[in-house]
Amino acid sequence: MRLEYTERQKKFRAEVREWMTANVPKQALSSFDTQEGFEQHRAWEAKLHEGRWSAVTWPKELGGRSCDLIDWLIFEEEYWRAGAPLRVNQNGVFLLAPTLMEYGTDEQKARFLPRMAAGADIWAQGWSEPGAGSDMAAIRTKAILTSDSQGDHYVINGQKTWSTRAVYADWCFGLFRTDPDSSRHHGLTFILLPLNLPGISIRPIKQLNGLPGFAEIFFDNVRVPVANRLGAEGQGWNVAMATAGFERGLMLRSPARFQKTAQNLVALYQRHREHADRDPSIRDAVLKSWMDAEAYALSTYQTASRLVRGGHIGPEASTNKIFWSELDLLMHETAMRILGARGELMPEAPEAAESAPWLDGFLFAQAGPIYAGSNEIQRNIIAERMLGLPRA
């Protein structure tokens, strides 16, 4: 055990810090759930790419820096420390890319990854369907393999929903039922497709904050070339589980994000301490927030160290999801309690400068225990796969 950074790691951190200091926009970008903000964030992805920071864990030849997970944690710490923007291409860079690298052909990697790293293609995900939320194996949208004069292609019919980023994104990945007689986990295939194909229509879904953070995607005889299939026909569930594993586990939520929030919460508390101390539960929640953010960071460093040494993530990844989502709620609820009657102000209100980011985070935190496998599902996984309790 060595809980100090190497000289190389320290130099890497210094390099990130220097670049971020010079390049992070001074003015916060608009939300990427607006057209304007989306393009601002796309430009930021391109800027990151210029500095070779858009996908640091990718191999160098694909525009990354071949960072290991410890480097990635350092990068994330500096990224959040600098107050850099949210990553509009998270679905692509963090979720799809590892799957593409594992299951994609060389042609597919060359075709998709460089454009993804550069922010040229922003990706949406297409997992859920109206009848398939927590129960993802209930997918019904069909993609039927067809041959004609233009070659082999899938014809897709059906509907996806809760597709994050889909309102403005360029591409989408998801699972489709290629064997119409199959059921549950069988007969599904992982397919990549551009969102501007004929037959696709997109209906934005407004979130709590009024912005369209996700969308329904309707498919009406949409033709997708067979070359857009990732992995083998009918093997989609296995391919997708790799992605879902990344989403649930280490990769989706870097500890730096929560540590930054905890730090901001301490500062908020300090500014309002005289009032806040009249309710002792506030101070206690502030201390707990810092401790839990720190614990989450330590846990992540420990997991990363294990992975660097060749270990694997098991069902204990489900504990991550529960921990960070409850921590995120705790921190934002506490902030709202400190802000009191100012917490309700919309971002455009003249006196909302201090409170608006907290309200936005508070609303977003509500989704934490729901998306990427609800916390109830995660608790089932822990009980059944980690503790070995019998299924119902």
Partner: protein
């Protein structure tokens, strides 16, 4: 000792419940939320028709002369249906302030009848709130200044909109100049009056939060009974059941606290402020838990603008922090419980 409501009280609130079920459907709320003022003349007219604007206006001024205890059941209904109207400020708080004025007060003679017939809207401002709700839309502003009560027209003040996530209220920063002309009542009487306003607002909010909690529980229960995953209604899963059962427990034990606070105001109990703060805390907790559990049961659907739940959650979150946030109310509890010789323990619940 009798902790029950009269048949009259129960049947009035039951009638209001049934009325609002028809007249305040979520689709209508959405429409009113989208308007510029956030108010609807039709909705106001219907509330007046039901007698709600006249509820506590003295009979001499065209009202029904009812009191705090009658209001508390009505407020639960206003919360359940998230009614977007300045009814509470107008017909409860402003009436309470006006009633205390001398019989020859112009304010009293002029405004009480207009409140009773539904034609006036009054906004009430006190520094415990940074903003005054619905000030631009009001016919009259009743404002605190150094414990005095002042009355003015909105045109006499500078109003700056500070939009809230709860679109059923429009918040304004109000800048104005107090003068002899605006003063209606001095600090000596005003001090007690303003305490009365804070406490009445507190009970009204507590009761609305109770109603909101119940509504969010009902929405969650309905959704859970219908929505299927893994081949059965999600409401048959124990985790979902227990989420909702926890909300039911909170509501069940918040209700008597809120209703007692109303009775304490009605009878002038010397610890009414304590009872109100207790009510605020437990009702706020019930509403916050109901929001959290209901959105969890709704899944991604609960996170959308389209699901009705969002209106009730936002209303609950916003309301819970007005007229004294939880910190303010917790401090009032602490001041009582931790005082030397505090009347705690069995046999003290109803002592004075």
């Amino acid at each position: 000792m009798d902790f029950t409501f009269t048949e009259d009280q129960l049947s009035l609130s039951d009638a209001i419940h049934k009325f609002l079920m028809v007249e305040a459907a979520p689709e209508l709320l959405r429409e009113i939320w989208e308007t510029e003022s956030g108010r609807s003349a039709e909705m106001r007219a219907k509330l007046a028709d039901q007698g709600l604007t006249a509820l506590s206006v003295p009979e001499a001024y065209g009202g029904m002369g009812l009191g705090d205890l009658d209001w508390v059941l009505i407020q639960q209904e206003l919360g359940y249906y998230a009614i977007p109207d300045s009814l509470t400020a107008t017909a409860y708080l402003a009436v309470y302030l006006s009633k205390a004025l001398p019989e020859d007060s112009k304010l009293k003679a002029h405004w009480l009848p207009k409140i009773a017939d539904g034609s006036a809207r009054v906004a009430v401002g006190h520094p415990i709130n940074p903003f005054v709700a619905d000030a631009a839309n009001a016919s009259l502003l009743l404002l605190w200044h150094a414990d005095e009560l002042h009355a003015l027209r909105p045109e006499e003040a500078t109003l700056t909109l500070n939009a809230s996530i709860d679109s059923s209220r429009r918040l304004y920063r109000v800048q104005w100049t107090p003068s002899d002309k605006t003063r209606v009542c001095g600090a000596e009487q005003g001090r007690e009056l303003w305490q009365g306003v804070i406490n009445r607002a507190g009970v009204a909010i507590s009761a609305q939060l109770l109603g909101l909690a119940q509504r969010m529980l009902d929405l969650g229960t309905d959704y859970a009974a219908q929505r299927k995953q893994f081949g059965k209604p999600i409401g048959s899963f124990q985790a979902v059941k227990h989420h909702l059962a926890d909300v039911a427990v909170k509501i069940e034990f918040a209700r008597p606290v809120v209703q007692r606070a109303a009775q304490s105001l009605a009878t002038g109990h010397p610890r009414a402020g304590l009872h109100v703060s207790h009510a605020r805390l437990v009702a706020g907790e019930a509403a916050r838990l109901a929001a959290r559990k209901s959105i969890q049961v709704h899944g991604a659907m609960g996170y959308t603008w389209e699901a009705d739940l969002q209106m009730f959650m936002k209303r609950a979150w916003a309301l819970d922090a007005t007229w004294g946030d939880a910190i303010f109310h917790k401090a009032r509890i602490a001041d009582f419980v931790l005082a030397e010789g505090a009347a705690l323990g069995p046999a003290e619940t109803f002592t004075h």
